[in-house]
């Protein structure tokens, strides 16, 4: 079956512009996660959705970052007034998300490489 997909694979933008990054989770996965990976670092958590609602958004760095998942499937990460420090690979993951620890495994997409000039 299809894995997690993310579009675009690469995005180059200018400082101050608005960008949207899209994530299509694995069909049937109710939990969706966004992470950010800077060069030489491990992925850092941004936000977690259970269904349509954000269950944990404690990793969003500031109010320029926002994410939605209106129908409980596809999610969009939105970044306003981009800054050079936002340059990173943005990763999306999904998991089954219901009770039972085996459903906890997170499957990752290929990521979107964002470059802010």
């Amino acid at each position: 079956g299809a894995g997690v997909s993310q579009t675009p694979s690469n995005k180059v933008t200018e400082k101050g512009k608005y960008v949207e990054l899209r994530c299509d989770p694995i069909s049937g996965h109710t939990a969706l996660y966004w992470y950010r990976q800077s060069l030489g670092q491990g992925p850092e958590f941004l936000i977690y959705f259970q269904g349509t609602g954000a269950a944990d958004d404690s990793g969003l760095p500031n109010d320029r970052f926002f994410a939605v998942r209106p129908e409980g499937s596809v999610s969009t990460l939105k970044i306003q007034r981009t800054e050079r420090g936002d340059s990173a690979v943005y990763l999306c993951a999904s998991s089954l998300g219901y009770s039972g620890r085996e459903s906890n495994e997170q499957f990752f997409g290929p990521g979107t490489r964002l470059t802010v000039l």
């Binding site: 996660y33 992470y35 958590f45 977690y48 620890r101 906890n104």
Partner: protein, 112 residues
């Protein structure tokens, strides 16, 4: 704050050498533990996971990891590495369905 430490940032080995990558975490209580691998040009893939039970976990491609609760450790091992094991390895931990906390990663280069 919760954290994950990977002690080795870069490891260089010859084929057939044994591998051990260290991972320590700072969570208290019950945790889930993972090792992910990222091969060059590919996305993160799960190598193995520990939820409960036998603390010695076997994963894909001959990798294994041992959970030592008293040491808050989950070290990754492989008796004999191959050139195809060249990749970046990430240790991660979480509780329940929550966010994964990742270590900084270890870049492994295996020379033929």
């Amino acid at each position: 704050a919760q954290s994950v430490s990977q002690h080795n940032h870069h490891v260089i080995l010859s084929e057939a050498a044994s591998l051990e990558l260290g991972c320590n975490y700072s969570y208290g209580g019950t945790v889930n533990l993972f090792w992910y691998v990222q091969y060059p040009g590919q996305h993160l893939q799960l190598l193995l996971k520990y939820f409960s039970g036998d603390p010695l976990v076997k994963g894909i491609k001959g990798f294994e990891a041992e959970f030592i609760k008293s040491k808050f450790s989950f070290n990754l091992r492989k008796p004999s590495v191959q050139w195809s094991d060249t990749a970046e390895y990430f240790c991660a931990v979480n509780r329940g369905y929550n966010k994964l906390i990742f270590g900084a990663g270890t870049r492994l280069a295996v020379h033929p």
